[in-house]
């Protein structure tokens, strides 16, 4: 009997061995995206018996995912074939030689179907490096039960806040991301553009301009005037959302994910929140910092063809529709934004599309992480009241110029 069992298992293993093993493709994604795409991955594997797609559930925090990816890439033998990347990583990864140019695989017209704003930040140095799967942009959340229309200028935002605070309707006016981290650069960029300033002008830092000083001065002024709590100096997205969803603030700057959080069952603010773009001075644009997530194929991958198929499937119209319906993710394709079924299910879709059309990019350069580190560190100094806006922005400009010189140019 033992002999029979052995013989049987031998035959079985030969049978398994003879069948060609499916080509393994592994994608690293931040945890929420890995969870949201689980169904899609299952469908893909059913429809593509020749490929075994697996998604590695990375950490929750953006930078922790980057650390994991970079560690594996530096060791030279990355277990991943593709990455879901934040928009700011693209030039750095491309310059390091870690990414596969996609235009040869996807065709030169690959980005044609994207909604305006979603096409930004995927190409660098004349090559296409990633394809956006989920769009993300900074939004101003406002309480529809407390006001008729959202403010459009900084002065209006202050006036509405203070009147609501005086009436005891809210404790705070406006909460945003002021912690010393990337989120502050996103917040600041929107205010900067709203005051008519630029992070880079003609490819060079322009952070001691009148507008740049006024923008950081305004952020500090919000704290001084009691519109924003001093705790903003350590507020990331979750802390801001926490203050807003308890009904303690009239306005919040955050990403689209907060919409779903605020409208889930049992939320205090369900049906009482509207979204719009950031306030700006008259005649200046209302902008939204773009923060999309896109798929990129690693140049070290041994399964590029299969990885491209997975990329095309996960960013397809059908996949984006499913991701929006089930997880509330913002699509990147124009046709998905205009899908009548989706617009019925998700009434803010047109407003998200408008915000995406107002998207601005953070500087697209391999040394973006250094530039941003200088910026959020110095603007945070202004917010805490340690240094006044003008001298802090002078320091920032000097440090940014020094970085530009020592690296031989920003882009």
């Amino acid at each position: 009997m033992t002999l029979g069992f052995l013989l049987g298992s031998l035959l079985l293993s030969v049978a398994v061995w003879a069948k060609p093993a499916p080509e393994p493709v592994s994608i690293l994604m931040p945890a929420p995206f890995a969870d949201a795409t689980a169904d899609l991955v299952e469908t893909f594997n059913r429809e593509h018996p020749g490929i075994a797609l697996s998604v590695t559930r990375g950490p929750l925090e953006t930078e922790a995912v980057s650390d994991l990816a970079i560690s594996s890439l530096l060791l030279g033998n990355s277990p991943y074939d593709a990455l879901l990347m934040d928009v700011t990583w693209t030039p750095k990864y491309a310059k390091a030689g870690w990414l596969e140019p996609l235009e040869g695989w996807l065709g030169a017209d690959a980005l044609d179907d994207l909604a305006p704003g979603a096409e930004l930040g995927n190409a660098f140095d004349g090559h296409l490096w990633r394809f956006p799967m989920v769009a993300d942009m900074g939004l101003l959340f406002w309480r529809t039960d407390l006001m008729e229309a959202p403010p459009r200028t900084p002065a209006e935002l202050e006036a509405i806040s203070q009147s609501l605070q005086q009436d005891g309707k809210v404790r705070w006016g406006y909460v945003w991301q002021g912690r010393q981290y990337e989120g502050l650069s996103c917040t600041y960029l929107e205010v900067l553009r709203g005051f008519g300033g630029r992070w880079l002008r003609d490819g060079s830092p322009d952070l001691n301009s009148k507008a740049a000083i006024a923008a950081s001065q305004w952020l500090r002024h919000l704290v001084d005037a009691g519109i924003t709590p001093p705790a903003v100096a350590n507020m990331a997205e979750s802390e801001a959302l926490q203050t807003f969803e308890t009904g303690d603030a009239a306005f919040m700057r955050n990403w689209p994910y907060a919409w779903a959080e605020l409208n889930r069952n049992g939320s205090l603010l369900a049906g009482k929140v509207g979204i719009t773009t950031m306030v700006s001075e008259p005649h200046e644009p209302h902008v939204a910092t773009q923060g999309s997530w896109g798929l990129a194929v690693l140049s070290s991958s041994k399964h590029k063809q299969a990885a491209i198929e997975a990329l095309q499937f996960l960013t397809s119209t059908a996949a984006q529709k499913q991701l929006n319906l089930n997880s509330g993710y913002t699509p990147t394709r124009l046709s998905v934004f205009e899908d009548p079924e989706l617009v019925r299910a998700n009434p803010i879709l047109p407003e998200l599309q408008a915000a995406l059309a107002a998207a601005v990019l953070r500087p697209l350069t391999p040394i973006y992480a250094q530039l941003s580190d200088l910026l959020y560190r110095e603007v945070n100094t202004v917010i805490t009241g340690e240094v006044a806006a003008a001298p802090a922005m002078e320091t920032l400009q000097r440090n940014s110029i020094q970085l530009e010189r020592s690296t031989g140019g920003i882009s």
Partner: protein, 296 residues
């Protein structure tokens, strides 16, 4: 009797292992600090001479972080040693439920630092965290534990003290249990007060353990990274950034490996100087005490 030659042979494997683990990376870092290896050189090392070291010397952020790291390590290790000794003395007493008390007091040490830091970030939240909630009940305005440069570094010391005091207490408790009971009985018979027993018996016999705890804690505190990264991200206004965090930023975020290695080596050189100064101080105090003892 072993000849010195035999002793040397027997020492070789351990020395080989140590140099593999310590000397090789340091040598590699030394080489790296003479190179420019960044994302802009496409991660290929390009000889840079002394440029990285000149940059380090002129980098006010490096010096600021060095001071902040020292400040953090100094206050947290001092507090941990004092508290750890007090807790060890308490746990060494024949109390009821002593073993479960010992277990409980170790819990903070068993918690991963990241989890602990997330916990403190919530506890110190302004204004929803439990501490500020409690303060608001008694009518005190919320304290910006994590948003004020003058306060936040103390918050990081507090969180570190909470986590690592049990480690110090455990080491010292082991030392206390090695002190023979009859020494205390003899001292008591001679009419020594509790304070005198502590000063003349406990502390001197505990010195090797105190030293071990001090060395371990200093090494860890001077390399503090995860606690700060999660609790404050180095903020507000850069006031809690440590050297390890700065080196990490340079390597993992900026992909500037040459400079990251230089920062690490700069910190290492500072650490050697610091330990050297401590040793000299130790020797000087020790020498003076011997003198004082001789005169008595």
């Amino acid at each position: 009797m072993l000849r010195w030659r035999q002793q040397l042979w027997l020492l070789l494997p351990a020395m080989g292992l140590l140099s593999l683990v310590f000397l090789v990376p340091i040598a590699h870092y030394l080489w790296l600090s003479t190179q420019s290896q960044t994302v802009l050189t496409e991660l290929r090392p390009v000889p840079a001479g002394a440029a990285q070291w000149i940059r380090l010397w002129n980098d006010s952020r490096f010096w600021q972080d060095a001071w902040q790291t020292l400040r953090f390590a100094g206050l947290s290790v001092t507090t941990e040693m004092v508290l750890g000794l007090a807790i060890a003395l308490l746990l060494n007493e024949p109390l009821r439920g002593r073993s479960s008390l010992r277990m409980i007091s170790l819990l903070p040490w068993a918690l991963p630092t990241t989890v602990m830091a997330l916990g403190w970030r919530w506890i110190f939240n302004d204004p929803y965290g439990p501490i500020n909630q409690a303060l608001s009940w008694i009518g005190v305005t919320p304290i910006p534990f994590l948003a004020n440069p003058a306060i936040t570094w103390i918050t990081t010391v507090w969180a570190d003290t909470w986590k690592t005091t049990p480690f110090v207490a455990l080491l010292l408790l082991a030392g206390l249990q090695n002190i023979p009971r009859d020494l205390y009985e003899a001292a008591q018979l001679e009419g020594a007060s509790a304070w005198q027993s502590l000063r003349r018996i406990t502390i001197p016999l505990l010195t090797p353990y105190l030293l071990i705890a001090l060395v371990f804690r200093l090494a860890q505190a001077l390399g503090v990274f995860d606690l700060v990264q999660v609790l404050t991200g180095g903020g507000p206004a850069g006031s809690t950034e440590s050297l390890a965090l700065y080196a990490y930023l340079n390597a993992m975020r900026f992909l500037d490996f040459g400079y990251s290695a230089t920062v690490m080596l700069g910190a290492f050189a500072g650490l050697l100087l610091f330990c050297g100064a401590l040793a000299v101080l130790w020797w000087w105090i020790g020498g003076r005490q011997d003198l004082a003892g001789g005169q008595r």
